[in-house]
């Protein structure tokens, strides 16, 4: 990377001003992505050699995860406690809670297991809002067109259509759970635009939409008859002799033991993979986002899609170091904040979809027009003082969380701009599902970020909070009915023996175990507190 302009020099040259020339951005999105988007870094991809997606290419670290050895053997299950439920939900974020609440409401016995605590998820961090076409000048059709266009026309169209049609009902359901939204003086929902939307459509609660959603859903689950197992990462799914999913093997971080949960239907809602730090990028993701669901579903034979496509959010905080990767809501760009390079020039239409804006930021930095703090920290300005100048008071009223972040970074965002750089944010692809959230494996439902298809190869702001509730409720409803008509079957980890045979035949290493459960720097594998859960320590 060529030398960018030093921070102090760039800051001295900066002055807030009301008008700045829009970017003369002539380059096509395709060209920009090919040359600068991290998905296209040369040499970062390899082909999958086993499983339903053999032959597809994706990031080498993801290939290693999907072709990893299991964490357990048959021997680990001898004497393990066995529990039973109708519907087992794996994951305690927004999608998992919505699914669990809906299935329980339909009369199913529901168990929800989560790696950490209930609500520890990416949902809680979502700031921008949730898309639903509620304004007069907007329609579900426009929402659909925006979603498919944003996803580069690579979306599963029936899924996207279902999601946009669910939008208004999702908002009503959330209000019925006790979630608040920002309203005007007549009580109408306030809406705002997002990158790639053709109408104001993002409803929100300040810049705390995800926090408000998660604390309400967590409270609703805690006050229901859903049995919650926390600190209980899932290490394997169970399959029966018809190759249907029949439950899961759960490990407990509390007593270092394994449990078998027999279930008539399993709903996987484990989220994304930001904490794998693909291509060495910082991430905006939660500590537990290690792609566990992908490998669990893949081993059982579930088909995946678009695994080579990730979203790098344009505005991750680049500096100071203790906050690097922290997300700055896209809402501030939709409200009219500009992005500026070291010369104070706008270099991209700030409301282009996220992949386009992220690639443009990387271009500015690679070509020496970025701002440099150290070898680890380069970025471009997010011009909050300019926004404040054009709309006095907007930061205080609409973006309190952002101002607080500024205070932590010791920057008064009303006076000084802040340095941003793209951060690994979202897994666009994932498990292939239908409109009920069913994967290609009978009995296995998948919802939320672990799935693929709805957002194609690029997700719009506000569509993930919509997706998790829309499909969470769909899967919860369907799974409850599916479970109602069935008896428990004998589940085993027979598929793990098949996996090991396949790995050996393909000449693949068994040195890596999956799911990862935690980022490498948490040092789970060497933490003596959890010796009982480490294969190397048991043998």
């Amino acid at each position: 990377m060529p030398q960018c302009i030093p921070y102090s020099e760039a800051l001295a040259a900066y002055a807030p001003c009301e008008f700045r020339q829009p970017a003369a951005d002539q380059v096509s999105t395709d060209e920009l992505l090919r040359d600068f988007h991290p998905d296209h870094i040369a040499g970062s991809m390899s082909p999958l050699r086993i499983g339903p997606n053999a032959g597809d290419t994706c990031h080498t670290e993801l290939v290693r995860l999907l072709q990893s050895d299991a964490r357990i053997d048959e021997a680990d299950l001898a004497g393990a406690e066995t529990l039973e439920t109708d519907v087992l939900v794996i994951g305690g974020g927004g999608a998992g809670c919505a699914a669990a609440l809906t299935a329980a409401k339909r009369g199913a016995r529901v168990m929800l297991t989560t790696k950490l605590r209930l609500g520890d998820s990416n949902t809680v961090m979502a700031e921008g809002g949730i898309q639903a076409s509620v304004e007069k000048g907007d329609t579900p059709q426009m929402h659909f067109e925006d979603t498919t266009k944003g996803g580069h026309h690579h979306v599963d169209r029936p899924l996207a259509a279902q999601m946009v049609m669910d939008g208004p009902k999702v908002i009503r359901w959330l209000i019925q759970q006790g979630m608040q939204f920002d309203v005007d003086k007549y009580g109408d929902l306030l809406t705002r635009r997002a990158g790639g939307t053709s109408a104001p459509r993002v409803v929100h609660f300040r810049d705390y939409t995800g926090l408000e959603m998660m604390r309400v859903l967590r409270e609703a689950v805690a006050n229901s008859n859903i049995e919650v197992l926390d600190y209980s990462p899932t290490v394997e799914l169970l399959s029966n002799e018809d190759d249907h999913c029949a439950g899961a093997v759960i490990s407990s971080l509390k007593n270092c033991s394994y449990m078998l949960v027999k279930a008539k239907a399993v709903i996987l809602a484990t989220g994304g993979i930001g904490r794998m730090h693909l291509n060495g990028f910082p991430t905006s993701n939660h500590f537990g986002a290690t792609g566990d669901g992908l490998v669990l579903a893949y081993r059982l034979g579930a088909k995946l899609r678009d695994l080579d496509s990730f979203q790098y959010h344009p505005s991750g905080l680049a500096f100071p170091q203790h906050l690097a990767g922290t997300l700055i809501t896209e809402g501030v760009r939709s409200a009219g904040a500009y992005l500026l390079n070291a010369h104070g020039e706008r270099f991209v239409d700030e409301l282009q979809p996220r992949d386009h804006v992220a690639a443009a930021i990387i271009r500015e930095c690679r070509q020496g027009r970025g701002i440099r703090v150290s070898d680890d920290s380069v970025g471009v300005w997010l011009d909050t003082p300019g926004l404040e100048l054009r709309t006095p008071g907007i930061l205080e009223t609409r973006f309190p969380k952002l101002l607080q972040l500024g205070r932590k970074a010791q920057v008064d965002l009303k006076l000084k701009p802040i340095l941003i750089y793209p951060t690994l944010h979202y897994q666009n692809g994932g498990v292939v599902i239908d409109v009920h959230g069913r994967s290609t494996v009978p009995g296995l439902y998948c919802i939320g970020e672990v799935t693929g298809g709805i957002h194609g190869r690029n997700r719009l702001m506000g569509n993930s909070l919509l997706e998790i509730i829309s499909f969470g409720r769909r899967a919860g409803r369907h799974a409850a009915e599916y479970a109602h008509d069935r008896a428990h079957t004998r589940g085993s980890i027979e598929h793990v023996s098949d996996l090991r045979r396949t790995l050996t035949l393909a000449g693949l290493s068994m040195a890596h175990e999956g799911p990862l459960l935690f980022p490498t720097y948490a040092k789970f594998e060497s933490d003596s507190d959890y010796d009982g859960l480490h294969r190397s320590k048991r043998e």
Binding site: D120, S121, P140, A161, V164, I171, G210, N223, H286, F524
Partner: protein, 208 residues
């Protein structure tokens, strides 16, 4: 000075002596020193409430509470992670409250301790978000749920106020109850209702 010219400080986390650059948070300092830690880490952005800690700064005898992902390391600092308390014993289902006229009566059935506040200020001191917790409880007990709920906008449900309260009031759950009933009974946006009607009548479809 560290490798990159940063100032290094010595501190103690859960009984372990650690040396780390001043630019790091307590959790980053743990990782930096290579100590394993799996529990009590969450969003790393101060909104999930997982990383509750007690902290004593070098120049003070006072023990404070905070969130480890938001706390920058300092020379001589002593930090201790707090486990989560048991879930609150207050249980309710919004659909059991038949009308907004009943909310106040039901509140006192669900949270009978809310009237017993001793005004010790423990909740206010423990809150890492600077919320006026005690005042929120007082407002809720008076039936002013909308006002009470507004005070808890930034609440991350870290349960520190619950841990601090000698009367087992569970102030954060009082705050959340106040917010939830306000939405459940009073948010009725006409633009949303209008759109739902159009959808119900089948007037809006998506052409795939």
């Amino acid at each position: 000075m560290g490798e990159t010219g940063e100032t290094l400080v010595n501190l103690n986390i859960n009984g372990r002596s650690i040396t780390a650059p001043t630019s790091l948070s307590v959790i980053q300092a743990l990782w930096h020193s290579g100590y394993p830690r799996v529990k009590s880490i969450g969003c790393l952005q101060g909104v999930c409430g997982s990383c509750r800690v007690m902290v004593r700064h070098a120049d003070s005898h006072e023990v404070k509470t905070g969130l480890a992902c938001q706390l920058l390391v300092e020379e001589g600092m002593q930090v201790s992670f707090l486990v989560f308390p048991n879930p609150t014993h207050h249980a309710y289902d919004l659909t059991d409250i038949k009308s907004s006229w009943e909310v106040q009566a039901r509140f006192h059935q669900i949270f009978p301790e809310a009237d017993h506040c001793r005004h010790c200020g423990g909740c206010d001191v423990s809150c890492p978000k600077g919320i006026e917790v005690e005042r929120g409880v007082e407002l809720a007990a008076k039936g002013r749920f909308s006002e009470a709920g507004d005070l808890f906008v930034e609440c991350v449900m870290c349960d520190l106020c619950m841990t601090a309260c000698p009367e087992y009031i569970s102030p954060n759950h009082v705050g959340l109850f106040s917010r939830r009933v306000s939405a459940y009974f009073h948010i009725r946006p006409s633009n949303l209702i209008n759109r739902l009607e159009k959808l119900r009548k089948g007037e809006l479809q998506v052409e795939i």
